[in-house]
Symmetry: C2
Subunit: 146 residues, 2 copies
């Protein structure tokens, strides 16, 4: 399974979120050998819950895992500090990022701390976030605490 | 309202968690002027949900806030990277920590990044975590991803 294949699952989640009227960021947690452990998307709007980012939703959906070293978190957007902290604390081994152009979170910090980071420049991800930020700037700023 | 008064609410949450058979870490989000916005505790065991740490549960319970600069997160234990990332991303202005002796997370990093950090050495918090780690070491290591 390629990083791009894994990203497809996160993009599908982001699209679901958008269709629900939410913030279009999706994520998925895979094992290194490509087994999908869990996926999810931002649900600030849908659940009125600021704690559900794409990555935390995917992490939750994967349930309790004894070890995350051999897992890969794939996300449509560079992980914010909250989600970067999740990756670091649980020693998730690798992160695949759809794009880091519309927002840049903690992915350099993760790389400095031993996480294998791959940043793609996926046009679907860039397009979705560009359109969303233009359409709902106040909601976007709320979601990143600004 | 003193930091110690705020900590009392987090300690009460940690005790609830312990009584439920869970990991005894509690937290609360207050406004600077002492209004309780939300409180919660770790529910890994109770909900079988690894994403619910004390701080993320308190943050969720507080609902959507437009700005966190004037809020205070109080927690019984030094926040792990996941919860430290939450504080940093949402620009929570201050953190009050019951103890950082049994576990030291990202509180120095938060202080370096402009968060007002107060570390108490609360005997109730130290006692609860010391007893818990001795009694359930495997559960504790699971909760911090080790």
């Amino acid at each position: 399974m390629t990083p791009q294949d894994m990203l497809d699952v996160a993009v599908e989640e982001a699209r679901k979120g958008l269709a629900e009227g939410g913030i279009p960021i999706g994520a998925a947690l895979f094992s290194r050998d490509g087994v999908l452990l869990g996926s999810g998307h931002n649900r600030r709007v849908q659940d009125d819950d600021p704690s559900v980012h794409g990555e935390t939703d995917a992490f939750r959906a994967a349930g309790r895992q004894r070890n995350y070293r051999s897992t890969v978190m794939v996300t449509t957007l560079s992980p914010c500090w909250y989600c970067s902290g999740l990756v670091r604390q649980f020693n998730i081994g690798a992160v695949v990022i759809g794009e880091a152009q519309t927002f840049s979170g903690g992915h350099d910090w993760l790389a400095e701390n031993g996480v294998e980071v791959t940043v793609l420049s996926d046009e679907r991800c860039i397009g979705m976030m560009t359109d969303f930020i233009a359409a709902r700037p106040e909601l976007w700023l709320e979601d990143i605490g600004e």
